[in-house]
Amino acid sequence: MSALLEISIVAAYMLVALGVGAVAYRVTDRTAEDYYLAGRGLGTGVLLFTTFATLLSAFTFFGGPNTAFSAGPEWILVMGLMDGVLFGLLWYLLGYRQWLLGRAHGYVTLGEMLGDRFGSKTLRGLVAGVSIFWLFPYVMLQQVGAGTALEALTNGTVPYWAGAGFITLFMIAYVVLSGMRGVAWTDTLQGVFMLSMVWLAFAWIASALAAEPGGIGAAMPTEFRALGGGVYSLQWMLSQAIGIAFGVTMFPQVNQRFFVGKSEKVLKRTFALWPVLVVLLFVPAFLLGSWAQGVGLAMPDGGNILPVLLAEYTPGWFAALVVAGALAAMMSSSDSMLLSGASYFTRDLYRPFVNADASEGYENKLGRIGVVVFASATFVASLFTPGTLVSIGETAFGGFAQLALPVGVALYWRNTTRSGMLAGVGGSQLFYLVTVFGPTVYVGGVPVFADAYWGWLPSVVGMAIGLVLTVGVSAVTAQATSEDTSVYFEAAD
């Protein structure tokens, strides 16, 4: 199998995506709303796939099957609860409400929406700062994944730095060109491509296994058949599902998608289609991982199980296509993150704190410069992958999850105050950061800062602390005169 063929497949695929970006550029006008939010005009198919493709990252192809390979396929159930049920409900409870408010008041970012009601530049900056803190290393990890995957696919012909750099340049090109519309369209292409690749791989391998004695049942390792066991305790599964589902809603690239639906009908249809998409993608992807264990394959050092399984059962060109699918997954997450990161930076940090008088045209240019700077910085970081950044990236979902409940309270409870929000957002972040980076502290056998609280993870415990702080502090403080509760509860119709 020549590296040339593999590189050509990946390159051909990227050219198609770039073409889509160029078409999107031609229909995008030069306003922030159009650049960041595609003029709030996405239809069901595009919104569904762009959000889904954005959610997925490389986990579906690599991390997920790896987990199913080493610990069993129960992660399927975690995904079902997380993305099928909880994210669907949050899509409605947080997303629909944000959509209504965004439409009524023209919000482009979460920080903007909160800053407006609570009359607080500090809150706006805090939310943006916290978001960029967790987002930056997460983008870096995607670039690391892309570099590693290309290096493995070409047996080292394309070195790590070149692979990661190439992907970065490519993303910069179409994100700078076409903004949200280009990202959403390429995401749709990438999402459909991923889904097809997973099913082709599944059908191919399942039929090969079915032809062997014992059928596909024999490929499921005996120790994986029973529900639970090993790392899978009920608290652990629930913590993961809850922490990640809430975290996802506050990831800038997902949260911003709450603003982009064309109509209520689009939001309704997307809402009902979540669980369907979850079954279609994760069940086959994770079963493949467990089957690889059952047929006795070995995980390569620092590598991934899915390419090994494909190499065993399918021809090389097909494995290259699947790796292109995985790259698609990484890019469709990273491109959106770059765009959202840039919008948080320009709208919630630069504009309010540095240059309040920036003109629309200047901001438009600045947003694109922001994309280039953000992407280049994460690329440089990916060459060194400092340990601290890796741990921040790996705990990013938990970090974002801390924002969800204070935001939910603000969206639904009239008596929320600015002090309550600052306490809830700041306090929960502080707690979570200490559990991730600080020392483990027990007082009288009770965990204060630890990896687990009676089986529950710190992300979920921090969420509870954030909720209590937001509600508690709001209850004992009064709203400042600069707060304007009516923007959430009266104008939005």
Binding site: P73, I216, F224, D493
Partner: protein
């Protein structure tokens, strides 16, 4: 005072969440058509969830997040 539809859908959503992980099948290792039985539960439950979400979106979309029109 929550409306009847809010109460009804609230219960439906809680049940959808509560049974997404079939804890009553914990440690059950039976296989159906080559896959663990709980994988089939998952597939079925996602279909049920999608149907419930669709019905909610069609009939009572404004129940919780809506604003008075």
């Amino acid at each position: 005072m929550p409306s009847r539809s809010a109460l009804g859908w609230g219960i439906v959503f809680v049940v959808l969440v509560a049974l997404a992980i079939p804890w009553f099948l914990w440690n059950d290792a039976s296989m159906v058509a080559g896959l663990p039985v709980w994988v089939w539960w998952h597939v079925g439950w996602m279909v049920v969830t999608a149907a419930a979400f669709a019905a909610f979106a069609r009939r009572d979309w404004g129940t919780f997040a809506g604003v008075a029109k």
